[in-house]
Amino acid sequence: MNTDSLLSMTGIDKRFAGIPALAAASFSVGRGEVHALIGQNGAGKSTLIKVLTGYYRRDAGEVIFDGKPFEVTSPQQAQASGISTIYQEINLVPYRSITENICLGREARRYGLLDWKCMHQEAEALLQRFNVRADVRRPLMEFNTATQQMVAIARAIGFSAKLVIMDEPTSSLDEREVSVLFNVIRQLKQEGVSVVFVSHKLDELYEVCDRVTIMRDGRTVRTAAMNEIDRIGLVSSMLGRTIDRAEGHATAFSDRDEKKIGEVLLSAESLAIGQIVRDVSFNVRSGEIAGFAGLLGAGRTETARLVFGIDRPRAGKMTFNGQEFDPHNPSDAIAAGMGFCTEDRKSEGIVPDMSVAENMMLALMPKLSKSGIIDEKAQREIVERFIRQLGIKCSGPDQKVRELSGGNQQKVLLGRWLAMNPRLLILDEPTRGIDVGAKGEIQALIKTLADQGLAVLMISSELEEVIEGADRVFVLREGVSVAQFGRDEATEDAVMSAMAHGSAPAIAEAAT
């Protein structure tokens, strides 16, 4: 292979409780190269990375880094040897300030003590590279996911590393931010730094990557130069079967039958809570997929939280199913027939130590019980059905959900709400971090459900997903619903410009 290779991993094995996650995987990265690592959910990408950085101990295999055998037992050592990593789930410390999150581990010192002033400046400067403006002294938890992700990236870049690994860094970024990130990646490349880039968004790979390695079931199945392999080639290698679907649509939402759309189920008028949501009006009809588009921080998630009763609005009113609707807590919303798949599955979704079955049944459980006692049999049937239907990759309903790959965890959560048979399903970034295969399945599933009469409120930062998937698109900007588009009006340009500038007449339109 490349003689000038920076990293070469061969024959890597890793088993969890006897089950192989990696089987003779190999991977190599050249100097100054941007190398894509792709594969289905659970293919072993994150595991490979964690083995490399010493978070997991490998069961077999050899790693050569920078010409020398590489034996690290902790991320700390990996970092010291020049490998800087952004892990898949944002792994930062929420209570601590941005500065600390960026500078922890390589603090600036003066007279042996920390030099806060210098560190704040450094953090600000790093974030500047990503066009992020934030008070770096504030705790990280006060910022939204995108900013947190940017902080994680800034932190990794801040170490002068030979290799920067990014495990799905773009899953919580919008296009604007992605392009900023890509600029940074190109800069890194120019500086001779190698980058490993994991993503499920194939377009992105073509934009920045030089080569790609494809994993399947814990093995490396193919490595190729990016320009030698087309999308279909990528996808078939990933899935392990030839696919022939034409590339007309980026998503699996095929055109929908308008006639199936029914009455207005949920309508919200002038919702407001503080600065985040100031004036949002929209409605969702049964059998319809309504989309929320907007830049990060536009207030989409917060609006969904208001609808679901997690937060209470300060102003505005909602009706659901023709009745006034004022949920005090999520169980009110659930009782009314709603489900909410949150965007942050780690902290708001899964119960890590519970099994797949228990996680999936969490919301349905009370309904499946007789006088408080769980009906195990009925439960098992439902769980097994959803595992099959959603193609969840797990060793069985009793496996701990924490052991699943990110994408499969997301499917479990979808299952949790689908099992409820809700009337309205709110999906916040439903396909974030989900591989192309599963993504298509999930999108198709959403469509089928809508066809069966379910109302869907879908928040997505992937413009294509909203535009192709939604029957109507509501655009939010800085906490205000600024525009509404029907299926035919919703072109990429129109939606984008509304997201960025808003359009005054559209507000009036949305309010009616």
Partner: protein
């Protein structure tokens, strides 16, 4: 894929540590019993069993409530004080110090219900602090740990209450089919709690809250309500245990009833294999844990190990038991 993975898991060579983790407490208990058969005089008798079972009862009863609390990720330091409160109240009622009641059965029934109920209410108060104000459980229950015993002492003015009321003392001294009533009570509570945890919605909700409170809330679980109930149950259990203790001793001493019980109960839960961080729980484990600790105590006493050295040995055994389980988890 699903099936192959499953098979692999089953056909894997028996993992010593996982085995130990699952059965560690049981093994420890068995070893202790064997040791006693070999070295402790007069061990293999019914009376020994009787002594140990009756002595472990109160700890188990309290530890059952504690297990539920710990499963939600909380802790309850106030159990000892609540035992004192219920132990102080009951005699005041059946001895007619508050309002004279002529009918003994009525008086005893009132005493039991009110004493346990009050303990339950105090437990509810703990839950309220924790659910409503989001105060950390250790601190929230520390309030009643300090004030609770004071309340019991104020009620009785610190005085010892002695009594001979067989109707009441039945729960401490009576027998049902030859089995001490308190043991029956303990077994019933253990079975009930184990059933609740394993088979009911409520039990599942407890575990979910301990595992990820936000996710639980977003799945429509009434987190605050569940917590309230769990702490109330812990209070009720403490209340019952308080009555058992005073019944056996024919006396209630607000100053001492339940002293140090919180640590015994927590140790039993931990040795039994329940994670103190919540999200996992085993009631049977708690029972075994309590029995292990009891048997250690018995062994040390019966073999004349001085108190000071006994403390060190007890510490070692707690650490060892928990460490073995820890190994199983890590493997």
């Amino acid at each position: 894929m699903t099936d192959t993975a499953r098979q692999q898991r089953v056909s894997r060579p028996l993992d010593l540590f996982e085995f130990m983790a699952r059965y560690g407490t049981l093994i420890a208990l068995a070893l202790l019993i064997l040791f006693n058969f070999a070295f402790t005089r007069n061990f293999a008798t019914m009376q020994t069993l009787n002594v140990n079972l009756t002595q472990v009862c109160t700890i188990v009863i309290v530890a059952v409530g504690m297990t539920l609390v710990i499963a939600t990720g909380g802790i309850d330091l106030s159990v000892g004080s609540l035992m004192a409160i219920s132990g102080a109240l009951a005699p005041m009622i059946f001895l007619g110090k508050i309002v004279p009641i002529d009918n003994v059965a009525l008086a005893v029934a009132a005493a039991m219900i009110i004493a346990i109920g009050v303990a339950g209410l105090f437990g509810l108060f703990n839950g309220w602090l924790i659910a409503r104000f989001r105060i950390q459980p250790i601190v929230a229950t520390l309030v009643l740990f300090i004030a609770g015993r004071g309340i019991a002492q104020v009620l009785t003015n610190g005085n010892l209450q002695t009594f001979r009321v067989p109707e009441f003392q039945w729960i401490g001294l009576g027998r049902l089919f030859g089995v001490p009533v308190q043991v029956v009570l303990m077994v019933l509570l253990v079975i009930a709690a184990a059933f609740v945890l394993k088979r009911t919605v409520f039990g599942r909700q407890i575990i979910a809250i301990g595992g990820n409170e936000r996710a639980a809330e977003l799945s429509g679980i009434a987190v605050a309500k569940v917590k309230l109930i769990v702490y109330a149950i812990s209070g009720l259990c403490a209340g019952i245990a308080g009555l058992v203790v005073i019944a056996i001793n024919s006396s209630s001493d607000a100053n001492l009833v339940g002293m140090g019980m919180e640590l015994d109960a927590i140790a039993a839960v931990a040795v039994g294999g329940t994670l103190l961080s919540g999200g996992k729980a085993t009631i049977i484990g708690t029972l075994l844990g309590a029995m292990t600790i009891q048997l250690v105590r018995y062994t040390l006493l019966a073999n004349g190990v001085p108190d000071a050295a006994a403390l060190v040995v007890k510490a070692g055994i707690i650490v060892l038991a928990v460490w073995i389980q820890q190994q199983g988890r890590a493997a």
